[in-house]
Amino acid sequence: MTFDRRDFLKISAGAAGAAAVGGLTGCATSSASVGGAKAKIVVVGAGYGGSTFARYMKMWSPQAHVTVIEPNDFFTSCPFSNTVLGGINSMEDITFSYDTVKKQVDQWVADKVTAIDTGKRTVTTAGGKTFAYDRLVLAGGIELLFDKVEGYDAEARKTIKHGWKAGPDQTGVLRKQLEAMPDGGTFVMSVPMAPYRCPPGPYERACLVATYFKQAKPRSKVIVLDGNPDIASKKGLFLAAWKKHFGYGTDNSMIDYRPNNMPRSVNPKTMMVGTEFDDVKGDVINVVPPMRAAAITGMAGVRDGNNGTWCTIDYRTFESTVVPNVHVLGDSALTNFPKSGSVANNTGKMCAAAIAEILAGRQPDQAPVVTNTCYSATGQGTAFHVATVFRYDAAGNKMVAQKGGGVSKEESELEMAYMESWAKNVWADTLGLPESHNFSVKG
C-alpha cells in the first residue's frame, strides 16, 4: 500500500463514529497511533470475552501483536456449573485447556494484572513484568463485594461459597458440601440485586440443587433469598418448572422462594444468614454477594457508570467512553445486554471486528447487530431459552432490542439437546477447541 498507515491508525473509532452520527461520543480524541509498527494489543482476562476477542483479533488482523494475561491454567465454565451442583456433570466436564488460544496469540502471560497506567499505556503484573499497549482490552468479568455482607470475611469464605466464578474451590467445594449434607437438610442460596452476572442463573441453580435432592435427599429443602422484588428472569418458565417438578406452591414444595430478602450478614459458626426480616439457618449456605465490574477496570479508571460500578462503552467499538484506547468486554461493561457468556463471546468478536477495521484504516461498522441467547436447564432433562437481537441506534447511542425476541413457550427435551449443543459450540468458539475435541458434558 502507498498510503501512510500512521494517518489511518490515528483515526479513532470514536472520532469516526462521531463524524458519522454528527455528535460526540465522549472519546473523540482517542488514538491508536502506533508509529507504523505492529499494533500492540494487550488483553487482560481469558474468559468468554477475552479469549474470544484474542482469537478473532488474530484471525481478522494477523498483523496485530496480541498479548493475553490470564492467571488461571484452565478455563472453567460458569455455564453448566449448576449441573455440577446437581450431580449431572463433573468439574472435568466443564474444564478446558487454553492450548489452542495460546498457540494463536503472540504472547501468553500466566499472571495477574495488579496495576494499569493509562497515561503511560502500560500494564503491570503481580510477577513484576510491565507490558506496553496501543490498545488495552479489559475482560476481567466481575468483582465480588464481600464487605457488603457483614461477616463474609476470609475466614467465613472457607465455609461459605458463592459459586459465581466457577472453579474447584467454588463449584467443586459447594458440590462436596451438598453431598455431605444429611437428608432433611436445608440449602440456603441467594440472588443478588440486578444487574448481576447471569440473570436466570440463580433460579436455574435452585432447579439443579432440587433435582439432586429429589433423587438423593428427598426430605431436603432449597431456600432462595432473592434481593429483588420478584424472579428477575424467565419468571413464567421457572415457576412452571418449579411447580411441575418440585411441588412448588404445595405444602411439600422443595423450593421455598423469598423475594425482597437480601442477605445482609452471614455467620459460618452458627450457619445463619441474616436478612432485613429474618435469620435463616442452613446446612449448606451459598451467598452471592453484590458485584461490580472487575478490579482491573478500577485500576484503569474506567468503572465510571451506574455509581461507579460498571463501565460505559461505545457500542461500536467497546471502547471506554472515559479513557481512550481502553476497551471493556463482557460482564464488566454497562450495557442493556444481559451479563451472559453468549454476550461476552459476541462482544469479544464485535470489539475485534471494530479494531480490525481501525487497523485497516477503515471506519468500524456503524450499525452493528448483536444477539444474546441464554438457555436454562431444569435438571429434569428439559431446558428453555430467552433470545434477543440488538441493533445499534446511532442517534440514541444505544442498542435497541428488535421485535420478535422473547422466551420459549415451554420447557422441552429438544431444547435441552440444543442447550448442550450451544455449550459445545460456544466453548469451541471461545477457546478454539479442535474439531477432534471430545466433549463429555451431558444435558
Partner: protein, 94 residues
C-alpha cells in the same frame, strides 16, 4: 481531514476486500452453530449451505412457516439484505 482520507481508503479497500460486516454477522451465529458454522452438536451446521436454501429458511423462520424453537426470534432481527449477505458468507465456507 484524516476522516475524509479514511472514507476514500474505506471505499477503495472495500472494493476488493472481504465483506467484513457479513463476516462479523456470521461470527455472531457461531455461539450456537459453531465456529465457521461447523456445529459440534445437535444444532445444524451452516457451513457450505446452498445460498438460496439458506435465504429461504431465514424467511420461513421469520414468517413462522417453518416450526422452530429459537430461530424465529433471531431471523426477525435481520433484514432481507442481511439474509443475502449471510447466505453468501456461509455458502462460501468449505
Amino acid at each position: 481531514m484524516t476522516l475524509v482520507a479514511a472514507g476514500v481508503l474505506g471505499s477503495v479497500a472495500q472494493a476488493y476486500a472481504v465483506d467484513t460486516r457479513a463476516r462479523f454477522m456470521a461470527a455472531n451465529c457461531a455461539y450456537c452453530h459453531g465456529p465457521d458454522g461447523k456445529s459440534r452438536g445437535a444444532i445444524p451446521s451452516l457451513a457450505g449451505m446452498d445460498k438460496a436454501y439458506f435465504v429461504d429458511q431465514m424467511k420461513a423462520f421469520r414468517d413462522n412457516t417453518r416450526p422452530n424453537t429459537v430461530m424465529t426470534k433471531h431471523a426477525m432481527g435481520y433484514t432481507d439484505a442481511e439474509y443475502e449477505a449471510l447466505g453468501a458468507w456461509f455458502s462460501a465456507i468449505k
